[in-house]
Every structure is written in C-alpha cells, then in structure tokens.
C-alpha cells in the first residue's frame, strides 16, 4: 500500500477530485495548507509596508491506495492539476505499513 500526498493549486481541487472519482478512487482527505517551493520572493503589502511572506495557500490531497493503483492515481492528478506554470505543486509517494478500518477492525488492502 502507498500513501500519495499531492499538493496542488486550491482552484484545481474540484477537477482533480472529479478525475479521481472517474478512475474509482473515492477515499481521500483534503487539507488547506500553506507552503513554498522554488518560487520565493512573495510579498504582501499592508499600510505601505512590504512583508516577505513566502508562503502560498495550497491544497493537500492525501490518498492511500493499493500498490497497483498508484500509477493511475498519480497520472490522473498530474493530468488534471497541471497548468504548466510555476506553482502547480508536487506529489509525494511513500509506503504504508498497515491500514485499520475502525468500524470493523479489518486490516490491510481490505481496509482501504
């Protein structure tokens, strides 16, 4: 099992969610996050003072999936989340040791 963390543009969330649903990937968790990549030098200006904030609002999608479904999910996110400009975000993939469904106590692939 793999955990996929995709950090995307907030305004791409609906497109990505819909695309994931079309390939049968229903379970996901969304977070509003702030972060920065290589695009430094973001300033905000209040009452004539400039502040270097360097943090942009992004949306983080967290998905746990079976090993053989990872590629489809990643492709789908890249296809729908991409604009081709700096700030499209990143996807991180990591191993998941185990999954437990709290209601039934099922474990592993069955619990996803």
């Amino acid at each position: 099992m793999k955990k996929i963390i995709a950090i995307i543009r907030p305004n791409k969330l609906e497109d990505v969610k819909q695309a994931l649903e079309e390939i049968g990937c229903h379970g996901l968790t969304i977070k509003d996050v702030k972060g920065r990549g290589r695009q430094l030098g973001i300033t905000e200006s209040y009452r004539g003072q400039d502040y270097n904030v360097d943090l942009l609002p992004k949306t983080e999608i967290e998905i746990v999936t079976k090993d053989d479904e990872v590629e489809d999910v990643v492709k789908s996110i890249v296809k729908t989340g991409r604009t081709g400009n700096i700030g499209d975000g990143k996807i991180f993939i990591s191993n998941v040791e185990d999954v437990v469904r709290i209601r039934t106590g099922e474990r592993g692939d069955k619990a996803i």
Partner: protein, 410 residues
C-alpha cells in the same frame, strides 16, 4: 433656537446616539480585531467592548456632570446630579441642544466618551494586561477625557476663546491618539510587530459600520434634524470617499498596487479629518480635507512610524492623531458662516484669528493628553504592570488571559 421640545430633532438624536454606539461595538472592535494575529482576536475585540461598558456606567454616575455641568473656572463642570438623579424625572431640555431632552444629550455625549477610550486600545493590542486596561479606563476617562470635553464642548476655556471642534477632532481623535502614543512609549514594542492582518474581512465589516455610524457622529453633532445635519452628512461622506481614493493612489505610487486595507485606512483617515470640520465647511473644502488627512496619515503610518520606532500597533496616532490635527487646523482655514451661522469663519473667509485659536486647541489638548496619560500609565505600570508576561504574549492573549480561542478546528 427656541428652547421648545421638538420631536423631529429628538428622533434624529435618538437614532444618532444608536449609530455612534454601533461605531464602537462592534464597528471599531471588528476593525481592530481583523488586523491583529489570530491568537489575539478576542482580546482585541474585548478591549473595545469593555471600554464601552465601563464608560456607559461612569458617564451617568458623574461623567456627564463633570464634562457638561455648571462651568467651574473654565476647567471642569460641577457635579450637581450624581447618578443622573432627577435629570430625566424633571423633564428638562438640554442647555446645549434646547430642542431635545437633557437625558438624550447626555447619552449622545456618552457614546463619544466611549469610542474615545476604545480608540486608544488599537495602539496597545497584543501585549497589554487586561487588568491594566480595566484600571486605565476609569482613570483616563475621569482625568483626561472629561476635562478636555469640558474645555471644548462644556463651556470651558477653549470654548470661551472660540475654538471650534464640531464632532471631536481634538476631543476624540487627537485626545485618544496622544494617549495611545503615551501608552505605547511606556509599554514598549511587541515581539512580533508585523502588521499581517489575520482576517481582513472583519476589518471590512468594521469599517463599514464605522462609516455608517459616523453619520450619527457628525450629522448628529448638529444636535437636531436640521439643514446643518444634512450638510455635515454630505461632507462626512465626501471626505471619507476622498480619503479612500487618496490612500489608494498613494499605495499605487509607493508600492505599486492599491490595497483594500489601504482603502479602508484612507476612508477612516478622511472621516477622522472631517470630524472637527463637519458642521463648518462646504463640499469643496471636504474634498481638500479628506485628501490632506489621508495623505498625511499615509506618510505618518508608512514612514514616520518606522523611522521613530514606536510600536503604535494599529496606527491610532498615525491615522486618528494626524487627521485630528489636520482636520482641526483646516477648520481655521475653511470654516464659513454660510454653512454655520453661529461662527465667524476661518482664514479664507476673513477671520485669520480662528487659525491661531485652532492651533492653540491642538497644542493644549495634545500636550495635556500626552502628559496626563504618561503619568497615569506610569502609575499603572508601577502598581499593576502594563504588559503581559513574555510567555503570554507568545502564546496569544485569548488563551492566556481569557481561556478562549477565536477559532477552533471543530
């Protein structure tokens, strides 16, 4: 005006009183509350609310009489009806506004005292002890606001000299701003003094309520449903609009983009600046006054503050102080008897002496408020302590002083 009860005037003054209440709670509270860090939002809002509550009580116990009672040597009024005893019961008309009941004039003036105290809080947010603020409110009201209101509006020595302040350029704005400056000098710089508003939406609502309530503040200061009230309403609005556009232009020229907070700040600068002049000047003058106030406030906020290094958190001095001064002096230029037949007018209308009197009012009230607040603040600092502990400042005042938080996950 003949001292005859007028229900139209009374209705307008009842509404004006309610409008000015809306300026403090929640207008000013929200305006300030949106600009600070999220960990301090409740404390910041609380400072305005509690100021309103304390002033509301004290005003009727002794405040109104000391400010507006029988004049004693031009300095203070006589306490003749403590606890507002027998004022409403005797059904008398106000000597200051002879077509409305005295009780109505008193409660209208109460709202001015309340917002003046609440305005000060913007400078000391995010680091002042709540208990110190509670102690500060009654002492400052009694020793600073009440005498100053008496000098200017209660028949005191400035009024006798002919100083003009229609709705509070000196009594409210300059007075609160110099007190704010004094407290800031005593309480010191915050650990994190960046102005990064946590929720500008609050400030938008707050500004809207302030702008709306200001019609009660300025047009209500005509003390009746008169043509003068209409004139005051028009110039109040046009000065606010001009102030807003001016700040946007300054933003564009200085940092490249107009900002919403800049627009809000400019509107408030324009409103503060027209306050002393609202019942004395015409529409054209209001455009100049709104422009001048916003222009000067922009420089005070964006360069004077950082150059001098004081931490006036939400620019009480930079906006209200500067605009109180500019507005009060502008009365000396632009006041005209064509708008208000009870005055002689300013420099442009052949009465240059008015300018000198206006300057004197600015200097006297500014200096008195600054010095008295330094003394009051110093005494509170030595006894209660003005500033919270380091840890409380870092963790935010909502949790540490009130055991509440403005935002939670669920």
């Amino acid at each position: 005006m003949d001292p005859v009860f007028n229900s139209g005037d009374t209705a307008w003054m009842l509404i004006s009183t309610a409008l000015v209440i809306l300026m403090t709670i929640p207008g000013l509270a929200l305006f300030y509350g949106g600009l600070i860090r999220r960990e301090n939002v409740l404390n910041t809002i609380f400072l305005s609310f509690v100021a309103f509550a304390i002033v509301s009580i004290l005003w009727f116990i002794y405040g109104y009489d000391l400010a507006f009672g029988q004049n004693i040597y031009g300095f203070i009024g006589a306490l003749s009806n403590p606890f507002f005893n027998n004022v409403v019961e005797s059904n008398v008309l106000s000597t200051y506004a002879p077509t409305i009941p005295e009780g109505l004039y008193a409660v209208f003036e109460m709202t001015f005292a309340a917002i003046t105290v609440a305005l000060i809080s913007g400078a000391v947010v995010e680091r002042m002890k709540f208990t110190a603020w509670l102690a500060f409110i009654p002492v400052w009201l009694t020793l600073v606001y009440i005498p100053v209101a008496h000098w200017m509006w209660g028949g005191g020595w400035l009024a006798q000299m002919g100083a003009l302040d229609f709705a509070g350029g000196t009594v409210v704005h300059l007075n609160s701003a110099m007190a704010a400056l004094a407290l800031v000098l005593l309480i010191g710089v915050r650990k994190n003094k960046k102005l990064l508003p946590h929720h500008l939406g609050y400030s938008v609502i707050g500004t809207g309520l302030l702008w709306f309530g200001w019609f009660g503040f300025n047009a209500g200061s005509a003390l009746g449903a008169t043509n003068l009230a209409v004139s005051a309403m028009i110039v109040t609005n046009s000065a606010a609009a001009m102030g807003m556009l001016t700040w946007m232009l300054m933003d564009k020229l200085k940092t490249g983009k107009p900002t919403l907070l800049g627009a809000l700040s400019g509107a408030i600068a324009g409103l503060a600046c027209i306050t002393p002049a609202a019942g004395y000047v015409n529409f054209s003058a209001s455009l100049i006054i709104g422009f001048a106030g916003s222009f000067c406030a922009y420089y005070a906020v964006s360069s004077l503050k950082s150059r001098l290094g004081y931490d006036d958190a939400l620019d009480v001095f930079g906006i209200h102080g500067i605009c109180g001064i500019v507005g009060t002096i502008s009365v000396g230029f632009f006041a005209t008897s064509a708008i208000n037949s009870s005055i002689k007018g300013g420099l442009l209308y052949g009465n240059p002496g008015q300018l000198g009197i206006q300057l004197l009012a600015v200097l006297a009230i500014g200096a008195y408020s600054l010095i008295m607040t330094l003394i009051i603040g110093k005494i509170i600092d030595k006894t209660i302590g003005l500033r919270v502990e380091n840890e409380q400042e870092i963790n935010g005042l909502d949790i540490t002083l009130h055991e509440e938080s403005g935002y939670r996950l669920s």
